[in-house]
């Protein structure tokens, strides 16, 4: 039992260090007569016999513990005292003994943060079991832990919110959120680009007044009303193609997906919108390309069949008119090569329109001897359909073949002059050879002559003539323009 414990009436059988570990007993001369076990933690230099003023001061501006009377005047009141040893403050109360000769200071450290325990060198066991200060520290710790957690949650929410905003703002698609009344809540960057409104212009306004064309506004409002009443919507949760309106009131096709959601008891809709203008253009191009491919396939089929028929005819005619196998072989080789050139030319041009000049040049080039022959091509630019080109190439191939065998391309001094013009919806063409040195044999009804004389009238309803001159031939053709040119 501590020295002063028996001075408290009725306490003789109680070890006061248990219930009052933070206590000091002083006599009328302010001398310390007893010190509780825990008080030594915060006033390590305190010992029995010391003046209380050496170790403690009252934290009041007008009163000090400099006399027993002063102490008695604040007895049984809550006061704050400070340890001069450690600067720690304590909540305290003085009690005066019934005889008035002893004052009991009962205190407890005024610690409000768990870290104060460490700073003051105090342990939980220093507190009496019933003291609430120690419990308070756990409450403070619980509060701090909760605050820490709230901060973490807020931080996470903020990150999620930032991420969400970044995703929405960087989304390629327009994303618009409206509330249950159809008023815009959010409008992402793509929506700004797509519809030409600024965010300030749209937030809080009814979406139907902004991006929905007037003719669809009634249906939109009816759909909203139905959702408000029945909680269902016809266009929800699925992509639909409709027309939207730009800020400049032009309209464009969009794909729209509207998802309803609930947040904090309020209903919203988020619409993801994709501008289909470009996609529609692309689709049109694809459709056109597919059509063209189908046409090409048909054209190829037709052309191959024609070509095979032509080759069969060539074979038949060559054997009919030629005098020897060698000549048959040479004629067939030349003509099949001519056909080959046609296809090479058409292949290079990809089935597109062909220039007449290029066509004639292609037919003549293989026969040039590079010995000074003169080939002159004169005429306006004229684009022909691939079909017309194939048929005309047969004619020019025959002319060039004949010229190389008998006419303008046989001799160094030979020349070919091709002139054409357009008049009264007709192509007027003249092929004239000079300095041939001999009259072509085939003028007398050979296969080549048959091709020259019959192709154009048969294929184009044109008119042709083939006349010998003194040193060559002159071939003339008049062809309806609309039969050979693209419309």
């Amino acid at each position: 039992m501590s020295a002063g414990s028996d001075k408290i009436p009725g306490s003789s059988r109680v070890d006061l260090d248990g219930p009052l570990p933070w206590r000091v007993l002083i006599d009328r001369k302010l001398r310390i007569t007893d010190i509780g076990r825990s008080f030594k933690r915060i006033c390590p230099s305190m010992k029995v016999g010391d003046d209380i003023k050496q170790h403690m001061e009252l934290k009041r501006p007008d009163r000090q513990i400099d006399s027993f009377e002063n102490i008695a005047s604040i007895a049984e009141k809550l006061v704050i005292v400070r340890s001069l040893d450690t600067d720690l403050t304590l909540r305290a109360t003085f009690f005066i003994s019934p005889g008035g000769d002893t004052a009991l200071l009962v205190a407890t450290p005024l610690v409000t943060e768990p870290g104060d325990l460490w700073n003051a060198g105090i342990q939980l066991a220093d507190f009496a079991p019933h003291e609430l200060i120690a419990d308070l520290l756990f409450a403070v710790q619980a509060r701090d832990t909760s605050l820490l957690e709230v901060r973490e949650i807020l931080h996470r929410e903020m990150l999620i919110s930032k991420n969400h905003k970044a995703i929405v703002d960087s989304a390629f698609d327009a994303m618009i959120t409206i509330d249950i009344d159809g008023r815009v809540v959010s409008f992402n960057n793509s929506a700004i680009d797509m519809f030409g409104f600024s965010r300030a212009e749209v937030v809080g306004r009814r979406i139907s007044d902004l991006i929905i064309p007037p003719e669809h506004r009634g249906a939109h409002e009816a759909g909203m009303e139905r959702f408000r009443a029945e909680g269902v919507g016809q266009i929800l949760n699925q992509p639909v193609e409709i027309t939207a309106q730009h800020a400049d009131e032009t309209t464009f096709p969009i794909e729209l997906t509207v998802i309803p959601f609930e947040n904090e008891g309020s209903k919203f809709f988020t619409a993801t919108i994709r501008n289909l203008s470009e996609s529609h253009k692309q689709q049109a191009l694809l459709d056109e390309a597919a059509n063209q491919e189908r046409l090409l396939h048909r054209e190829l089929d037709h052309r191959v069949k024609n070509m095979l028929a032509t080759i069969v005819a060539l074979c038949r005619e060559a054997t009919k008119h030629a005098s020897s196998d060698k000549i048959i072989l040479m004629d067939l080789t030349n003509r099949v090569m001519g056909l080959s050139k046609i296809h090479e030319l058409l292949s290079k041009e990809g089935g597109k329109k062909l220039e007449l000049e290029k066509l004639i040049q292609t037919c003549i080039d293989p026969f040039l001897l590079q010995r000074g022959e003169t080939v002159t091509l004169n005429g306006p630019c004229l684009s022909m359909t691939p079909t017309a080109a194939v048929k005309l190439v047969m004619v020019f191939n025959e002319l060039a073949t004949n010229a190389s065998k008998h006419g303008g391309l046989k001799h160094e001094q030979g020349s070919i002059e091709v002139n054409w013009s357009i008049a009264n919806g007709q192509l007027e063409l003249t092929w004239e050879e000079q300095h041939a040195g001999e009259v072509p044999e085939e003028l007398e009804g050979g296969f080549g002559t048959m091709v020259l004389m019959s192709s154009i009238p048969y294929e184009f309803e044109g008119v042709v003539s083939l006349e010998p001159t003194k040193d060559g031939i002159i071939f003339k053709a008049s062809i309806p323009l609309d039969r050979i040119t693209a419309s």
Partner: protein
């Protein structure tokens, strides 16, 4: 149990194993909540389910999981801001073990509904004591073993723990003989 316990299990798994392991444990446990609030009370079944799932996923026995958790708990509570309170509970292992009960009692006064365990010391000498553990919950003896080992690390003392009495046998308490160098 308070969410703090489940948060500690999560941190133990994510720090010593992986986030993926924790996600798998969560899924296997069938926990409806995927995030735990420290100061919110959860059903004990949630914690037991997490321990069972951790045992399966980490391929450890439930006892090993509980012991690892007990050891981690000392570190976790110190890092969670309870370090000062742990400091105030004692500056040596025996001192801390003697104050363990008042520590839990005081925590119990602050957390409504908390059912803290009870700890008492007996047969104390300069290098050993018997720690008596009583709890309303069953099956957590390995956690106490881990807790004592964790405290040994906290006070940088080599500690040996031997369970001398199991609640399953005595019907009322478990006793651990704790010795240190």
């Amino acid at each position: 149990m308070y969410g703090l316990i489940n948060v500690a299990i999560r941190d133990l798994v994510t720090s010593q194993f992986s986030q993926a392991a924790w996600e798998e444990i969560l899924a296997k446990s069938g926990a409806e909540e995927t995030a735990f609030i420290r100061m919110e009370q959860n059903d004990d079944a949630v914690t037991y389910a997490l321990v069972a799932a951790a045992s399966e996923v980490l391929e450890l026995s439930a006892e090993q999981v509980l012991e690892a958790f007990g050891e981690y708990w000392t570190l976790f509570t110190a890092e969670e801001g309870y370090g000062f309170m742990l400091d105030a509970a004692g500056s040596t292992l025996p001192e801390f073990l003697q104050n363990l009960d008042v520590l839990h009692t005081r925590v119990g006064t602050m957390y409504p509904g908390l059912k803290p365990p009870q700890f008492d010391c007996s047969n104390m000498t300069s290098n050993c004591l018997d720690l008596h553990y009583r709890s309303e919950r069953d099956g957590l003896d390995p956690l106490v073993v881990g807790l004592i080992k964790g405290l040994g690390k906290r006070f940088n003392q080599s500690v040996t723990v031997e369970q001398t009495v199991a609640k399953s046998d005595s019907g009322k308490e478990s006793v651990f003989h704790v010795s240190w160098e």
